[in-house]
């Protein structure tokens, strides 16, 4: 299997989509393709191959979102890259009120097959306006699929599925994942939505983590293993749809649950997973659920302040120890 970076895996998914479907267009191509680890000749080849379908728009996130929604409804399959996730707030109406409602409001007559991509997360020095992890907000929209890839293979496979999907799909990439390398299956790899991945098997505690936090959970699991605690790391991969079955099956095995999410703890992805497990596998729980997330405060610029609120492997280890305590 070829090794590639997360960023290049996503670009490959895009390239496959552009090659196989003439209705795919990329708006916001530059910050998705350039300086992302592609060989210069490969990047040039892409721009040369699709001169009219790789587009750099004005700094107009609002109308660009309307544009891709309208174009999707009229038969195209656009991919919009916002850059930093907070820039998409400029388009909140267009995403939440327009794109998310197209299919339902028309009684199923219309569809908006579009992909909205953004770079999110606490990235180091991003301060209040460049550190958001907005996944829970999009999960809450009703009508948007939400994809959180955590490794290069999933980045390629899930992005490919996002573009093929007939629904509006939000794909959130943690900035710190871009340089991560890993094996990616050859060719036009796809990963279906709604199927969780067991990133590590274990019997003592279930850690459900998303995006960058999967890697932190895997690191935590190694530390825990040295203490004889075998953690099972579950990566849901997509939040909408959510693979409740796989999560609950793991909790039934371990009896203990830690959720890890870089978003604000309040009404977070971790909150939803906790609620699902409480509803569907309450009888299996041997201890209270522990959530690891960022506290609900704006992210400060100063490095020690930022570090204090950033979920990481150490915090996951502490949470797992707490969840795994004998009662």
């Amino acid at each position: 299997m070829p090794q590639k970076s997360f960023a290049v895996a996503m670009i490959d998914a895009l390239a496959h989509s552009l090659k196989t479907d003439p209705n795919v267009v990329v708006i916001g191509a530059h910050s998705f393709l350039s300086d992302r680890g592609l060989k210069p000749e490969d990047e040039r080849a892409l721009w040369d191959a699709f001169p009219d379908r790789l587009i750099d728009p004005p700094t107009s996130e609002g109308v660009c979102t309307s544009l891709v929604t309208g174009a999707a409804m009229a038969g195209m399959r656009p991919f919009l890259n916002y850059g930093t996730a907070t820039f998409a707030y400029e388009a909140f109406n267009q995403i939440m009120s327009e794109a998310a409602n197209v299919h339902s409001m028309s009684g199923g007559q219309l569809r908006a097959p579009l992909t909205l991509h953004m770079y999110a997360g606490i990235r180091g020095g991003g301060a209040g306006q460049h550190s958001s992890s907005p996944q829970a907000m999009y999960a809450n929209a009703a009508g948007l699929e939400l994809v959180l890839p955590a490794c290069p293979a999933d980045a390629q496979g899930l992005l490919r599925s996002a573009i093929k999907s007939d629904n509006p799909t939000v794909v959130i990439t943690h900035t710190r994942l871009l340089s991560m390398t890993g094996d990616v299956p050859d060719g036009d790899h796809t990963v279906p939505f709604g199927k969780a991945r067991i990133a590590r098997e274990g019997r003592d505690v279930t850690i459900v983590a998303t995006s960058l936090m999967v890697r932190e959970a895997e690191k935590a699991a190694e530390t825990l293993a040295k203490d004889g605690i075998e953690a099972e790391v579950v990566d849901p991969r997509t939040i909408v749809p959510l693979d409740v079955e796989t999560i609950c099956a793991s909790v039934r095995k371990t009896g203990r649950l830690v959720t890890v999410d870089e978003g604000n703890a309040l009404c977070s992805i971790g909150s939803e997973i906790s609620a699902q497990v409480a509803e569907h596998a309450f009888d299996a729980l041997k201890a209270p659920i522990v959530r690891v997330a960022r506290p609900p405060v704006p992210i400060a610029f100063s490095p020690p302040l930022e570090a204090h609120v950033t979920p990481n492997a150490d915090k996951i280890v502490a949470a797992a120890r707490k969840a795994a305590q004998p009662r």
Partner: protein, 329 residues
């Protein structure tokens, strides 16, 4: 015009030496990205030195120059850029969100279009309170790409709000384009909304000062908003991610010493607003070479002290991250 050409050049030099110090500190402390105001000095100094107490200022990611131009303590500003407790915002804002309400700074938003929108709210409040003050929106040409610009200009015009819209246009077609407007004439947008507009050479502090004076008089009179486009000299390092001394460390002697001006940065030396202004003032007999050198030395001393203050300032306590989201009850 309130300030003398000498004071303006002194402030411009302080802005330049400040940003050069930011480059030095960014390397020494491995800082992330900043957006430097090198090349923007003439506009920033000439405009912000004219503001009155009570005027409200809204700025952007490229705010360092505005801070120094308005007279913010450079030590506290550098400390903020280093994320220290002694910084303007106690380390919470950093390079993109420095603010000093005591000098009128209301918002420093890194969202393109942020300042232009909020300034309208400031203008609304000032009009309501009848203070005679103005709200000043500082923004790049890129802000005009955002829908909020149209909405803000329209409502400011409609309600005759006391807002000075000051656009620092550093876009260069092709090589470094930071806006994509269907019209080549940026001021066509405010003009269409019946806002008086002026375009000015942003590298000439006298021209900027005069234009700002006229604009402020109009706004203070209650005649509604005014739009100024300062066409900036573009510093080639403006959109770097990792800072370098792209055009070398400024040597004011390049204003009169051809040997110093004719190195690989010669093109920049011809347009650099600092050197241009020094040349003009010397040619007119307003300042001597020694005066310019002395002003530059003063700036360097202030910035060296600022650096010492900033580097000696401790980091905030980590727990400070958990407080401050809300006004205490």
């Amino acid at each position: 015009m309130g300030q003398s050409p000498r004071d303006t050049l002194a402030r411009m030099l302080l802005m330049r030496r400040f940003e050069e110090m930011v480059i030095t500190l960014a390397r020494a402390h491995k800082l992330g990205r900043q957006h430097l105001a090198i090349g923007n000095e003439a506009t920033g100094a000439a405009a912000l030195m004219q503001l009155a107490p009570g005027d409200l200022i809204y700025t952007t990611h490229r705010n360092h120059g505005h801070m120094i131009a308005r007279g913010v303590d450079p030590g506290k500003a550098l400390a903020e850029i280093l994320g220290r407790a002694g910084g303007l915002c106690g380390g919470k804002g950093g390079t993109w969100h420095m603010t000093d309400p005591s000098l009128g700074f209301q918002s420093t938003s890194a969202m393109v279009g942020g300042s232009i929108g909020l300034s309208v709210g400031g203008g609304f409040a000032l009009k309501h309170k009848k203070t005679g003050n103005v709200a000043v929106a500082l923004f790049g040409d890129g802000a005009l790409d955002e829908g909020i610009a149209y909405e803000a200009l329209n409502i400011a015009s409609l309600y005759a709000l006391p807002v000075l819209f000051l656009c620092e246009n550093n876009s260069k077609e092709g090589e470094a384009q930071t806006s994509r407007l269907a019209t080549k004439e940026l001021v066509a947008v405010p003009k269409a909304l019946k806002i008086p507009c002026t375009r000015v050479d942003g590298g000439d502090p006298e021209a900027v000062a005069l234009a700002v004076e006229t604009a402020l008089a109009h706004v203070r009179l209650g005649a509604g908003p005014y739009f100024l486009e300062a066409q900036l000299v573009r510093w080639p390092g403006s959109h770097q991610i990792v800072h370098e001394f792209t055009t070398g460390v400024t040597d004011v002697a390049a204003a009169w010493d051809d040997a110093k001006a004719s190195n690989e940065h010669a093109a920049w030396h011809r347009t650099d607003p600092i050197l241009r202004t020094a040349r003009t003032l010397i040619a007119r007999g307003i300042l001597t070479r020694d005066d310019v050198t002395a002003l530059d030395n003063e700036a360097a001393v202030i910035i060296a002290k600022a650096r010492a203050f900033a580097e000696a300032s401790p980091y905030p306590k980590p727990e400070a991250a958990l407080t401050g989201a809300f006004v205490p009850a």
